[in-house]
């Protein structure tokens, strides 16, 4: 059974909301990604979303853009991201890992080859930002063959027909983008989020995670009341970079302390 499914089954039994941190692989440094993943798991991450840096991250706000640029400048690549996951799996067999990124690095590797390499490395799910369901039929099938979950985005503007189309292809969980804009933007309206998540839950058979605009324990707690999972990225990435700039090597420790605090708020 896919680790994502077993994780959500256990969470449901314990009536807990999943906490899903996002970090960009290779930022602030290539060496820090592996220890940071372990730190996040220790701090209570239920799933880890690992960003695969891309030169043109058109759905991301300034924080993740800069983060991707730094990671690429350090020489990060999709191949190296998979190597980090394989290394992580040597000592962690339970925490699901989801790769999040853009289509072109995957297409450059050849999609079939990527799917096999990702499965072999111990990846559990893949979210390709610019593969909406109408362009992802065959890719979702390829992932399915290796028991990898295709994760899809849903937006405030998604119609019920689209939610249903996503529901047919989605495995693992769906990722609801809680506001109009890019990652790390503005303030989110929890009432609006609750209404839309309710609608999605009626149509989509997998758990619903909410992200974009969740920046601290308090927003996580409020969103956690209506969602199955909260995804938190830009605030963590920014904090880790700040810690790294103050003292390189402290970023994993920062991530652990920061996420532990979010975990406590979420569980309160």
């Amino acid at each position: 059974m896919n680790r994502i499914n077993s994780t959500f089954t256990a969470l449901k039994t314990n009536k807990r909301t999943a906490l899903i941190p996002f970090i960009t692989a290779g930022d602030p440094s290539i060496e820090s990604t592996l220890p940071t993943m372990h730190a996040l798991a220790k701090a209570g991450a239920d799933v880890i979303e690992l960003g695969v840096p891309f030169s043109d991250p058109m759905a991301d706000g300034p924080v993740i853009q800069r983060s991707s640029e730094r990671a690429l400048a350090k020489g990060m690549s999709l191949k190296k991201v998979l190597a980090v996951v394989a290394e992580f799996r040597k000592t962690n067999a339970t925490t699901p890992v989801v790769l999040m990124g853009y289509a072109n690095p995957i297409e450059a590797m050849q999609r079939e080859h990527f799917v096999n390499a990702a499965a072999d490395a111990g990846v559990d799910g893949v979210l390709v930002v610019d593969y909406p369901p109408e362009e992802a039929d065959d890719f979702a099938a390829m992932l399915g063959k290796r028991d990898l979950a295709p994760i899809f985005l849903l937006a405030p503007t998604s119609t019920s027909e689209r939610i249903a189309a996503v529901g047919r292809l989605a495995r693992g969980y769906v990722y609801y983008v809680s506001l109009r804009g890019v990652t790390g933007a503005g303030h989110l309206d929890t009432v609006e989020v609750a209404a839309k998540v309710g609608e999605i839950k009626k149509i989509v058979p997998v758990p619903v995670g909410v992200g974009f605009g969740i920046r601290d324990g308090e927003t996580a707690r409020r969103v956690g009341k209506v969602a199955d999972a909260v995804v938190i990225g830009s605030a963590l990435v920014q904090g880790m970079f700040g810690a790294y700039e103050k003292s390189a090597g402290d970023e994993a420790k920062f991530a652990e302390q920061w996420l532990s605090a979010v975990r406590r708020s979420l569980d309160a």
Partner: protein, 426 residues
């Protein structure tokens, strides 16, 4: 060959094109698709579009026989489609009018655009002023520096120009930033994409608005040359002027279609923008097409003396026309384009845009290998006024600027710099 009827309903040209965007943009694109389908053949919309092209742009643009030059080359006769005579100085305005008329009908009071050299930005700012729309233009901060005159033109026309500091700070990053704006302000904003790239329906819609170029040619060529041309040539960056002139000729099987890419410092120099000649298929900016990328799938920086061709992708329909062999794509270097630029000025009395100079350069090469009864039609997609600075720098000539500016240049090189700066401040 069957009658050409692409893209399909999902925006695919064979394996190219499509809708490769985040879910956050899908609704806006669906909305645009529905409205475009509705107005595309709407008599009132067509009437307004044609009226504007005639009275605001000055269409139809003439076809001109470059007789002296053809005689000197001693081969095929070269004809130029004079898009340089359009209002705003290039073909870009045709598409901007079409999209702005759609924006009005969709009730969107704000338009945004990306621009590289600034031609599409100027055209968008122009139509925004004409229709009373708020206009924001995204432009890479490197391009803002290189194209100061066009930045000023946009500001004169009432647009806000936003310098983009991310990535390589050029056209592709401006496009990313415009997409981010659109996602955020989708309720009141219409995104006017300037080329035949981006997610469906843009490649199709921009092609349709630009195909007025080729349609006019089909009507004008029999009168000018007694027949249709043997080959049609156009420069290709994103590829909108080329699609505009190619499209009506696709079903004219005997007419060769030749797209000319920017070979920069040479196709093997690594410093060029020849996506079709040197790229491999991938996904960027909402469509699958040929891209200049590294082995890890990261988009690489491109080079061309002409900012309008300096783009790592290309419209998906060109990718398809290349693969099926209906169109050929070749490269012209910076030096070859500059040579053609100067010859066009001296021999024909026309100052062409550096972009268009690529197409002209290839036409002169090709003409020399053909007999005198052959006919080449070149899309002279824009005028070169915007390129004065680039050309004068490349030619090692001093470009005139106002006295303070001349002084400023001397000041920078002078040991008495501080003193001169003080003088200037007075």
């Amino acid at each position: 060959m069957n009658l050409y009827d692409l893209p399909d309903a999902r925006g695919h040209f064979g394996q190219y094109g499509g809708t490769f965007v985040a879910e956050t943009l899908i609704q806006a694109l669906d909305d645009l698709k529905a409205h475009y389908a509705k107005y595309q053949h709407d008599a009132e919309f067509r009437r307004e579009f044609e009226y504007e092209l005639k009275h605001f742009v000055g269409r139809p643009s003439p076809i001109y026989h470059a007789k002296r030059w053809s005689e000197q080359l001693g081969g095929a006769q070269i004809y130029l489609k004079r898009e340089d005579l359009n209002h705003t100085g290039a073909h870009k305005v045709n598409n901007c009018i079409g999209q702005a008329l759609l924006a009005k009908r969709l009730g969107k009071p704000r338009v945004i655009a990306e621009t590289g050299a600034g031609q599409h930005g100027v055209a968008t700012a122009t139509v925004a002023a004409r229709y009373g729309l708020e206009c924001v233009v995204y432009m890479g901060s490197e391009d803002v520096k290189r194209q100061a005159q066009n930045v000023y033109r946009m500001k004169l026309l009432g647009a806000t120009v936003v310098p983009v500091e991310s990535g390589s700070k050029t056209l592709k990053d401006a496009l990313n930033e415009a997409l981010r704006d659109w996602v955020t302000n989708v309720d009141n904003t219409f995104y006017i994409i300037g080329t035949v790239a981006g997610p469906h329906p843009y490649p199709m819609m921009v092609r349709d608005f630009q195909s007025i170029i080729g349609e006019e040619c089909i009507a004008q060529m029999p009168e000018m040359a007694g027949r249709q041309p043997d080959a049609v040539l156009a420069c290709v960056g994103g590829g909108s002027n080329a699609m505009g002139i190619f499209y009506p000729y696709i079903n004219h099987e005997n007419v060769r279609l030749i797209g000319v890419e920017a070979a920069g410092e040479g196709l093997d120099s690594g410093k060029h923008s020849a996506s079709l000649t040197k790229g491999v298929p991938g996904v960027l900016h909402g469509n699958r097409t040929y891209l200049l990328q590294d082995e890890n799938g990261q988009i690489i920086e491109t080079h061309s003396v002409s900012a309008g061709l300096d783009y790592p992708g290309v419209g998906p329909e060109h990718a398809y026309l290349k693969d099926i062999g209906r169109a050929e794509y070749v490269g012209i270097t910076d030096d070859e384009a500059l040579k053609a630029f100067h010859e066009c000025c001296r021999i024909e009395g026309i100052i062409p845009a550096l972009e268009s100079s690529h197409a002209i350069a290839y036409a002169t090469k090709l003409a020399a290998t053909m007999s005198k009864d052959k006919v080449l039609l070149v899309n002279l997609s824009g005028r070169g006024d915007k390129d004065m600075h680039t050309v004068s720098m490349k030619s090692g000539l001093s470009f005139y600027c106002h006295p303070e500016c001349e002084l400023g240049r001397h000041a920078a090189a002078s040991p008495n710099k501080e003193q001169i700066v003080q003088l200037l401040k007075r």
